[in-house]
Each structure stands twice: as structure tokens, then as C-alpha cells.
């Protein structure tokens, strides 16, 4: 129990007749970066809001850093920080004033606040913008300022809801650098993301679909769980290729990835020669077929496709 930072048991939430989250169990270990991955409407935000204590669950228990968050939400709040998709910054306050405000409402002592905001602003690359109005920052800078505000009270647990959606690549890199540093200092991070490259960076992932956890494992473990094997076919005309390959016997799924086609098959030893023959018959020349390492996206699509 001691090395579990967030534990949820039987978490359930309905919005009227809509069942948003059903019987979700989660255990996030201390020092993990844990990812919630799933399509829109899978229940990621609802779970985050329940864990943060904003939304009371209909059923289930939540422990944050050992504190029962349903019975004592105020106690849990001191230990966690929640950053919604859009962090609530006061746009008519400066960067420094926003940090001051969030520091004060978490009762951070003055000296600590000054030291910590210096560090965090430095890491976020926001130091030169301290006196700028938050409303005049770019989208990526706003997200980073949100993170700085969320971290000012040194939370033990950080909940981030799609923190990098709509953020430019450079800011995303800064953002992840901060997250890695936090993990080093023992902060547990739970984040939801729609970016598969970000999912790969997490220590463990939970795949969510229709309010349920479908699989929970390390990225490597999840990839192993993919049924079948993955082939990559490279061709000058991947769209035509897709038409040709889709629906062939033994082909479980097809995913277009830029200039290549990811084809999931039940038995590669048998299907590779078959596919070669098929492509030759259709007049697709110059196609290269090789075994490929599945990415999270492939697994994700494969698992969800199976469930649908």
C-alpha cells in the first residue's frame, strides 16, 4: 500500500442514463508516469476529475497518497495537483501574479514560493516573461505556466489531463523535461494523452474504452499483448495498397502510417508469401514487405478494433 500513490477501486460515474466510467480499478505506483490512453469519450477526464476530488464518484473508493479522497477531499487536495485540459489562469494577471496567487491558496511559505517559482520558471523557459500578462502568452507558454502553478505547492501526485494537446513541439519537449525531473524527485504523475509518442514515454499505461480499463501494462507489455504480428509494406502508392490488402484472408487489420501500410496478420510465415503473390497479381510493383515492431497506436487500434 505504501508504494501506491493513487489507488482507485470500483470507480463508477453516471451522467443521467450515460455510464461514463464503469468499475475502474487503478493502482499507480510512487514515482511512475502513468498514462491514460483512449479515444474521446472513453472517460479519461471523468476519471481525472474524480481522482482530483472535483467530481464525487457514484461508487468506488479513491486513495491519494494514502488519504481517502472521497471521505477527506480537502486532505487529498493538499497532496495532489490537478491540471485540466485548459488550466484556469487569470489572463489579466501577470505570470508572476498567477504563481503568487496559486502559491498563496496552497499556503506555500513565501521563501519556498520564491525559490520554487524561480526554478520552475527557469525550467519552463518562462523566466523572461514573468511580468507579461498571462493572456498574452502563446498556447504552449500558457500550458507551461499552468504546470508551474500546479507545481508551486510541491504536490506528491500530479494529475494532468491532456497537458500537451495543441502545444508546439518545442514546448512539448520542455514540458516532458519538467515531467522527467519531477519523477526524479519522487512525484507521481498520472496523465491522459491522445499522442501515441507520449504514451510510449509513460512507465505504464491504461487503455480505456467506453468507461472501462481494457488493458493496463507497461508500453512493452501492451505491445506484446497485440494479437497477431505486424508487417510493414512500403510502396509508392500506399492507398492503392490498402485497398488491395484490406479484407484478405488472415489480415486482421490495416493502418495507414504515412508512406507505409501497417498490416496485422495472424501468421506472418504463411501470409507474407500470399501477400507478395496478391500484390504481384494486382500489378503493385516495388512493394517491400517486412516484419515491423508494433507501436502503441497499432496495439491501440488492434485492441479497440477487436472490442468493437
Amino acid at each position: 500500500m505504501n508504494d501506491i500513490a493513487i489507488r482507485a477501486e470500483g470507480l463508477t460515474k453516471n451522467f443521467g442514463p450515460v455510464s461514463a466510467v464503469r468499475d475502474v480499478d487503478l493502482a499507480v505506483y510512487r514515482g511512475e508516469i502513468f498514462g491514460l490512453v483512449g479515444p474521446d469519450g472513453a472517460g479519461k477526464t471523468t476519471i481525472m476529475r474524480m481522482l482530483s476530488g472535483v467530481l464525487p464518484p457514484d461508487a468506488g473508493r479513491i486513495f491519494v497518497d494514502g488519504v481517502d479522497a472521497v471521505a477527506d477531499p480537502e486532505g487529498a487536495r493538499l497532496r495532489l495537483s490537478y491540471m485540466p485540459q485548459r488550466f484556469g489562469l487569470y489572463e489579466d494577471l501577470t505570470v508572476a501574479e498567477n504563481i503568487f496567487f496559486y502559491g498563496e491558496i496552497f499556503s506555500v511559505p513565501r521563501g519556498e514560493r520564491i525559490a520554487r517559482s524561480g526554478e520552475l520558471l527557469e525550467a519552463a523557459g518562462l523566466l523572461p516573461f514573468r511580468r507579461r500578462m498571462a493572456g498574452q502568452l502563446s498556447g504552449g507558454m500558457k500550458q507551461k505556466l499552468g504546470l508551474v502553478c500546479a507545481l508551486i505547492h510541491t504536490p506528491r501526485v500530479l494529475l494532468l489531463d491532456e497537458p500537451t494537446t495543441g502545444v508546439d513541439p518545442v514546448s512539448r519537449r520542455d514540458f516532458w523535461a519538467i515531467l522527467y525531473n519531477l519523477r526524479e524527485s519522487g512525484v507521481t504523475i498520472l496523465l491522459s494523452t491522445a499522442y501515441m509518442d507520449e504514451a510510449e514515454r509513460c512507465s505504464r499505461l491504461a487503455l480505456l474504452h467506453n468507461g472501462e480499463v481494457r488493458r493496463c501494462d507497461t508500453p512493452a507489455g501492451i505491445k506484446k499483448a497485440m494479437p497477431g504480428a505486424l508487417l510493414a509494406i512500403i510502396s509508392a502508392d500506399p492507398r492503392r495498397l490498402r485497398e488491395a490488402v484490406s479484407g484478405q484472408p488472415g489480415v486482421l487489420g490495416v493502418l495507414l502510417m504515412g508512406d507505409r501500410l501497417h498490416v496485422r496478420v495472424d501468421d506472418p510465415a504463411r501470409r507474407i508469401p500470399e501477400l507478395r503473390l496478391l500484390l504481384a497479381g494486382r500489378g503493385v510493383t516495388g512493394a517491400v514487405i517486412q516484419a515491423a515492431e508494433p507501436g502503441i497506436e497499432d496495439v491501440f487500434v488492434a485492441l479497440l478494433g477487436e472490442m468493437a
Binding site: S52, G53, V54, L55, P56, E74, R77, L78, L80, S81, Y82, P84, R86, F87, G88, L89, Y90, E91, D92, L93, E97, F100, F101, Y102, E104, I105, F106, S107
Partner: protein, 376 residues
């Protein structure tokens, strides 16, 4: 308990100071509306455009017409030659009142008999018509008293002992029955209602829209700290506004203030708490500023009409009279008029002050309770 209140207040005042339009929005409309109301809100009817048709052309008829001309309440705009002119004047709105003196008017008076006088009134504006008719009957009774005197002095032999009741009116608290004295204290209440309810509701809904409300609700801040942080500044602004418009009333429009300023301060405070509570309550029902605007519009107008500001509560249907009991403006008006004009104190006003306190308590409690719920 309230250790996070100071930072909320600092934040509010920094935002307020930074808002270049805030001072304008908070002060200028109050001043302008106070001046407009002070000058324009009056039931006094004067310069009523009047048409006159004299078919008698006697000394008596000319004398009666001169009575109309002599007062500033009536402006004779047309001396008509026939009934057609009169009809046209009223139809076209050139005249609101037409006085028709039929032939034989003077002779009947000289013979000591009563003579009919025809008055046509455009009743479209029933209020003006009613008041103008009142003035006309005053003029006519003064005129007939003069005529009776003249007749008596001509024919002393037939003078009969006159029995009459002379009405001597001395209205208390407002001897000249100045409408302004009645309206200006009322305007203070209505302007404050409009200002404070909308400011409070919008201030909170803005935070909801910006996402800052949810953000700080995941902090250890208590709803009470947040709500006080949002309302204390508007309470102070409200007190300032009331002081400002009251000063305009007292020093510019010379409405007497003979009561105790401390009673005024007490009632202003209770009233502000009630209006803040109402604004807060509206904000818990609004997700967006548009919704807050619609709700504000829906509630504030009836509160203003059903308060006794202009329309007497006693003349309203019973059902609506009941509604006025939950209207803070109703009590505020009773108290402020009494404090300004009558100078009475707590001994007399405690029931109204208690009602306001109770309303404030209920509204603030309900909105704090609803506030938590409205976050989901």
C-alpha cells in the same frame, strides 16, 4: 479559518485596478442615471398642451380661460373655432386637453345657476389625464368660488348663508409634495440593485467560464473563502455607490436627510448583503455570461416593479403583494424614505431591517450551499 481570504482580495483588487473601464463602469452610469432620474422621474404634470373652444364669448368665459393661461400647468396651444378643430387637435396629439365652453355659460352664472363646462381628455396616458383633471377641477372650483363671491356682492339681498368645508392640507414630511423627495431615495435602491446583482453574478460566472473556478476548487480553498473574496469588494463598491448617489440626492437635488446616518449605514449593509446574495444565487444557476444576463433580466425587472418604487404595493393583486415580501428592495425603500424624510430610527424600522437581514441570510446560505453543487 479564513487564511486564504487576503490573497483572494488582493487578486480581486489587482484585477479591478487593472481593468481600465472598471472605474468608469462602476461610477459613471450611477451618476448619469441618478441625474436622469432626478430630473425626469416625476409625476408632476405641467405644460399640458390644451385647446380651448369658447362658444360663449362672455366675460365669464374669457375669465375662465385666463385662469388656464395663468398657470404653468396648462399651455393653451390652440384657440379653436369649432368642434372640428378640437377633434383634430386631440386626434393628432396637438392637445391633450380640450376645454369647451358652450353658449349660455356666462348668462347662467350671472343668473346664479350652475353652468356645465365640457372637458375632453386624451386618456391614452391615464396617469397624466387623471392628474390634469385634478388640476382642472381645482381651477374650476376656484373660479366658481370667485363667481359665487361676485354674485353675492351684486345681489346682497338674496345672499344666503354659505355652508362650506374648507380643506386645509398640511402634508407631513414633504410639505410641498415634491415628487423628487419621493423618487430619489428610491432611485438609490434601484440603481444599487441593478449594479450589485449583475456585478456579482458576472464576476463569478466569468471565473467559471475561464476555468479558474474549477482550478481553485481543486485547491484547499474553502467555498466560503472564495465567495467572500468575490463579494467583499462588491460590498465595498456598493457602499461607495450608495454614498455617492445619496450625496447627489442630498447636495444636488436638495432632498432633505434628517435621519441617522448610522441607521442608513446599517440598512445599506443589510441591503447589499441581500443583493449580493441574489447575484450569487443567480451565478450558481448560470454556466455562461449569457445565461447570467438572461436570469438577471428575468429577476431584476419584476423586483423593481414589485417594490413600491413607483407603483403602490397596496394596489397590487394579493398574489403579487405576497411576492413583494421576498423582495429586498421593498424593505429598503421603506427604510430609506423613512430615514431621509421622516428621520425615524430603529425603534420604528426594526421590522423592515430584520426582514432584510433575514432575506440576506437565507439568500447567502442557499447560494453557498448551491455553490458547491454547481461545480459538478
Amino acid at each position: 479559518m479564513l487564511e486564504r481570504l487576503p490573497v483572494m482580495l488582493i487578486k480581486e483588487f489587482v484585477q479591478l485596478r487593472r481593468d481600465r473601464w472598471a472605474m468608469f463602469r462602476l461610477i459613471v452610469p450611477m451618476i448619469i442615471q441618478m441625474l436622469v432620474f432626478g430630473y425626469a422621474a416625476t409625476f408632476t404634470v405641467s405644460h399640458v398642451s390644451t385647446a380651448v373652444l369658447d362658444l360663449d364669448r362672455s366675460r365669464a368665459s374669457r375669465s375662465l380661460i385666463s385662469h388656464f393661461v395663468a398657470t404653468s400647468r396648462f399651455d393653451v396651444v390652440d384657440v379653436a373655432r369649432n368642434q372640428g378643430d378640437i377633434t383634430r387637435d386631440i386626434d393628432h396629439g396637438a392637445a391633450v386637453i380640450a376645454v369647451v365652453i358652450h353658449a349660455g355659460f356666462g348668462r347662467r352664472l350671472e343668473n346664479g345657476r350652475s353652468a356645465p363646462l365640457q372637458v375632453i381628455v386624451d386618456g391614452t396616458n391615464s396617469n397624466t389625464a387623471l392628474i390634469a383633471l385634478g388640476y382642472i377641477s381645482q381651477i374650476v372650483s376656484r373660479f366658481s368660488a370667485e363667481q359665487a363671491g361676485r354674485a353675492a356682492s351684486f345681489r346682497t339681498s338674496v345672499a344666503a348663508p354659505e355652508i362650506g368645508i374648507a380643506l386645509q392640507t398640511y402634508p407631513w414630511f414633504n410639505e410641498a409634495l415634491e415628487d423628487r423627495w419621493f423618487f430619489i431615495p428610491g432611485v438609490i435602491g434601484t440603481l444599487t440593485l441593478l449594479q450589485i446583482v449583475s456585478l456579482t453574478a458576472f464576476a463569478i460566472v466569468r471565473e467559471r467560464e475561464a476555468g479558474t473556478l474549477e482550478q481553485i476548487m481543486v485547491s484547499p480553498i474553502r467555498p466560503v473563502e472564495f465567495i467572500l473574496g468575490k463579494t467583499v469588494p462588491y460590498f465595498l463598491i456598493g457602499l461607495g455607490d450608495i454614498a455617492m448617489v445619496s450625496s447627489i440626492g442630498i447636495f444636488w437635488f436638495h432632498v432633505p436627510f434628517i435621519g441617522n446616518p448610522l441607521v442608513m449605514l446599517l440598512e445599506a449593509s443589510l441591503y447589499l448583503l441581500a443583493t449580493l446574495g441574489l447575484g450569487l444565487l443567480l451565478s450558481t444557476f448560470s454556466r455562461t455570461q449569457q445565461q447570467a444576463f438572461a436570469l438577471n433580466f428575468f429577476f431584476v425587472n419584476p423586483l423593481y416593479i414589485l417594490s413600491g418604487f413607483a407603483f403602490p404595493i397596496a394596489s397590487m393583486p394579493k398574489l403579487l403583494q405576497w411576492f413583494t415580501f421576498i423582495n429586498p428592495l421593498r424593505y429598503f425603500l421603506v427604510v430609506i424614505r423613512a430615514v431621509f424624510l421622516k428621520g425615524v430610527g430603529l425603534k420604528v424600522l426594526w421590522p423592515d431591517l430584520s426582514a432584510m437581514a433575514l432575506l440576506a441570510l437565507v439568500m447567502l446560505t442557499v447560494s453557498v450551499l448551491r455553490f458547491r453543487k454547481s461545480l459538478d
